[in-house]
Amino acid sequence: MSRLTAQNQEVAAEIISRYPRAKSALIPLLHLAQEQDGYVADDAMEHLAELVGVTPAEVLGTCSFYEMFVRHPVGKYKIDICTNISCQLVGGEELLHHAEETLGIRAGGTTDDGLFTIEDVECIAACTEGPCLQVNYRYEYRLSNSDFDNMIEGLRDGSRDDVPPHGTLGLTRQHIPQDHLAGIGSPETTPMPAWFESRQPEPEAEGA
């Protein structure tokens, strides 16, 4: 049961419609599958292959290149702790160590109750705000060990309801109303826009 739901198929169709070639939608669609199931299931990849007109192997090829896609269930909260240089200098590795000790797992592991996964990640573009982490891609900055413990507590008791389930990224999607769309043309045939042609200093000679 992990093909896209009917509702997500509609979302997928809208995403695909914004690209000149359907395969370009593949990464956003893999995210959609991951949002639906918490991970990218094999059936979902088969479904995406049908939607964008490539083979399931090609979908897997793309999926497996990118770190964010997981192909098996992970914890309800995926905690990505940055240990790259800026964070290392201000205690990122110590924070990771504290997280490992507190949760009783190593980086890459998931707690037995299925609540938490920890990862030791590369720079997450919050370098002046270290030690920092993302929990399901929501930032926490300048954390002390007790800040970390409080975060875990809040996630456990449900008071941290600002963190959506793993797989959910932006809470609003782009939507272009049909009557506002400039129009997505094919890469083979779309000509110079008329508005540009009419504003040229002098007509440009096309190479024959």
């Binding site: 893999l30 770190e67 240089i85």
Partner: protein
């Protein structure tokens, strides 16, 4: 009046003294909304552009010498001129920000998405193209959300899409998002990724994006911050723009200064007018090294840049002198290390990044970065071998035939090797892994040697025990 303090809703941003070109709205806690954008003229520059001829807009940007802010610092106006007269053509905005130490594009996307959208439309208009993809790093959920909301508002308000601002000009701006891979920030890999493929760089030549980019059509790739400048530039003109910064590096830059300073943060800074010393010790900036410690080293332009040392503190924040001194301003990321820093540990952490992020397409990078990491790890873990320092330099030389760019070491009369490095690889990722190694070994060789000697002594003692 600037408060010279952190702004709470734009985490890490400091509202310091100085001209604000791209961060002027950050002081408002609703800077991301259309309402604030309209009240502060975020689309004025775009409207002015639409009243000019496209080639006039392109000429104006060229005149302003708007240097790319993504890393290479190439002038945007000149890059735009490389497009052959072929259609369709595309604009891809690089919001993949993942260079270690870099934190500024995310702030710009989260806190002022409308300024960026206006910049996209101006660029599309100047280049005569009607589709732009805004590629946001996958991990940046809030940036994606803010841009989605802003685009929805802007489409609804007729500021993007069909018949922009009531004219015949129609341009679509499409939000795209990635899924975690540093290499995808490289422009040809970005294009591969946008085609739905594995994010591996293409060989240049022949695949220069301006000629053969997205779907093999002419494509301009520009950084988020580069385009964020355009609204202001159109509104105020190149002459005003050039009053900021220096002659060869006009305007401002968003700088993330991280590590061992008293006030790490993101600052908008006039190029060329301040030195690294001003940035680290000035009251308007980082206010000194933490705990009164001594400065040991700093990285002036992101993890891929060769390191600088106290000898280089008085260099101006300007591309040319920094390049001549052996490094680069890169992505506006300055990482400061005080004298408590273990040079081997810091080097290993940077090298591990390149080893993990190598896409695997070229052998010297794929094999070399992994090997560098292994050797550094064993030195740090107390298992180093006497030949390991030479081995590290040798592996580096295979990825990037030396001499590799490095800063001068004045007390040893060692001269600087100017930037950039040579490469045996398809893209500069592999060669970047050599930067921390050559920098740290030139300057802190004794730290490597001490660890190795201790390891050798421990092994010898072990042998005697047997």
């Amino acid at each position: 009046m600037p408060t010279n303090a952190y702004v709470p809703h734009a985490q890490g941003y400091v509202d310091n003294e100085g001209p604000k070109v791209v961060s002027s709205r950050f002081i408002h806690d609703d800077s991301h909304t259309l309402e604030r954008a309209l009240a502060t003229d975020a689309y004025e520059g775009m409207k002015i552009a639409l009243g000019m001829a496209p080639h006039e807009v392109a000429a104006l940007v060229k005149d302003a010498v708007l240097l790319g802010r993504g890393g290479a610092g190439f002038p945007a106006g000149i890059k735009w001129g490389f497009m052959p007269p072929v259609w369709p053509r595309y604009l891809v905005v690089n919001g993949d920000e993942s260079e270690p130490g870099t934190y500024k594009d995310r702030l710009l996307m989260e806190n002022d998405p409308h300024q960026l959208i206006a910049g996209c439309v101006i660029t599309c208009y100047a280049l005569g193209l009607n589709q732009c993809f805004l590629y946001v790093r996958g991990e940046m959920a809030l940036a994606q959300e803010r841009i989605a909301v802003a685009l929805n508002e802007a489409y609804e308000a007729g500021l993007v899409g069909k018949n922009i601002n009531g004219t015949d000009v129609s341009i679509d701006v499409v939000l795209h998002w990635g899924a975690g891979a540093y290499i995808v920030g490289e422009e040809t890999a970005l294009i591969e990724s946008l085609e739905g493929n594995r994010g591996m760089p293409r060989l240049k030549p022949p695949f220069f994006p301006a000629a053969k980019g997205l779907y093999m059509k002419p494509t301009i790739v520009n950084n988020v911050e580069t385009l964020a400048n355009l609204g202001w530039l159109l509104q105020n003109g190149p002459e005003s723009y050039k009053t900021y910064g220096s002659e060869t590096s006009p305007g401002t830059r968003m700088l993330a200064i991280s590590g061992h300073v008293n006030r790490p943060g993101v600052y908008e800074v006039e190029q060329g007018k301040v030195t690294f010393r001003d940035l680290f010790y000035g009251d308007n900036y980082c206010q000194g090294i933490r705990d009164g410690n001594e400065l040991k080293a700093f990285i002036p332009g992101g993890g891929s840049a060769p390191w600088f040392f106290p000898d280089q503190l008085d260099l101006p924040l300007e591309a040319r002198p920094v390049g001549a001194a052996g490094s680069m301003l890169g992505s506006g990321a300055i990482v400061v290390m005080d004298d408590t820093t273990d040079a081997v540990k810091a080097t290993l952490r940077l090298v591990r990044f390149y080893a993990r992020e190598s896409c695997g397409k070229c052998t010297p990078c794929r094999e070399g970065t992994a090997w560098e990491e292994k050797v550094l790890q064993r030195i740090l873990d107390g298992h180093g071998r006497p030949q390991d320092i030479d081995l590290l330099l040798e592996i580096g030389n295979n990825i990037s035939p030396g001499p590799y760019p490095v800063a001068s070491f004045d007390s040893q009369s060692l001269e600087a090797i100017p930037f950039p490095p040579k490469q045996t690889t398809i893209c500069p990722l592999g060669p970047s892994s050599v930067a921390p190694i050559t920098s740290a070994i030139r300057r802190f060789r004794h730290e490597f040697e001490e660890k190795i000697e201790a390891a050798v002594a421990a092994r010898n003692a072990g042998d005697q025990d047997d």
